[in-house]
Symmetry: C2
Subunit: 152 residues, 2 copies
Amino acid sequence: MSRDALPGLTLCNNAMLRRATRKIGQYYDDVLAPSGLKATQQGLLYQIHIGDEPAMGAIAASLIMDLSALGHTLKPLIRDGYVETFADPDDRRVKRVRLTPAGLVKLDEAMKLWRRAQQHFEDRVGKDKAARLREALDDIASMDFDPPPATP
Amino acid sequence: MSRDALPGLTLCNNAMLRRATRKIGQYYDDVLAPSGLKATQQGLLYQIHIGDEPAMGAIAASLIMDLSALGHTLKPLIRDGYVETFADPDDRRVKRVRLTPAGLVKLDEAMKLWRRAQQHFEDRVGKDKAARLREALDDIASMDFDPPPATP
DNA sequence: TTCCATTAGTGGTATATGCCACTAATTTTG
DNA sequence: CAAAATTAGTGGCATATACCACTAATGGAA
């Protein structure tokens, strides 16, 4: 493999996605910083809020996130008193999650900042383009990548 | 804030990007698994390979990644003998990075798998759509989000 | 040339995420 | 109903990624 004239990583869908995610993530994080929440945390609080005391598995599925990863991510939010969990009385395997009053207040605060970040982002990128992007991302996220292509 | 009828997180550009990244990342990781590399590592090896013994700062800039994050990410690759670093003789602050012979072999192996992942992905998503997506992502990554919108 | 500002990395700490092995609770089978 | 299979989470470990404070090396100003 000669080193010259190799295509840049701009060809890799995964690499480009990660790169853009780092960039945008930093931007949203910056704007949310005054709230003390990272953008991921704000998103998670929001997801919990719009659910009806969702089970961990349900949250993980919505976010296409590993269940154990969700558990880890939840810890700082529980420690800081924004979120609490309780066992589902009908199925004690299931652990449900809800915001505490403090969590709701914090989410409110963060959402104000989020709106600014989102607004400014869309002003810069273009509302339509952003919408198309999100749609494409949703398509991909919903896709079912059967077993990876077999090894010939 | 009433919980009912709130828009899902599909409205947040950042959340959607992260979600899609998790999904695709898992797919590329799966396909690359036989090589023992994660997709991020394959991407990093590739980036090092196409550069001319790039400085850490240069790599970080290309990948829009924090310099210290790059340092951390590099560690397992150095530990496993795929990558080595050396001080730039003309500026001893600068640390340059190159693949070892073993790293080159491993990259070769990983690239074969990557091509399969990439090919299959594009077959499923559509070549044009994937290209447009990457373009949009590159636009975003290249964007200069001036200071976040001022607090009114 | 000495002192100060800038630049490139490092190390520590914290969150983000994933996989695996394991436990507990339920559901399905025989 | 009791044993086997499935489901929901946990805890440990590893990588991914960021920020901050700090050090070393350079470059420029006085």
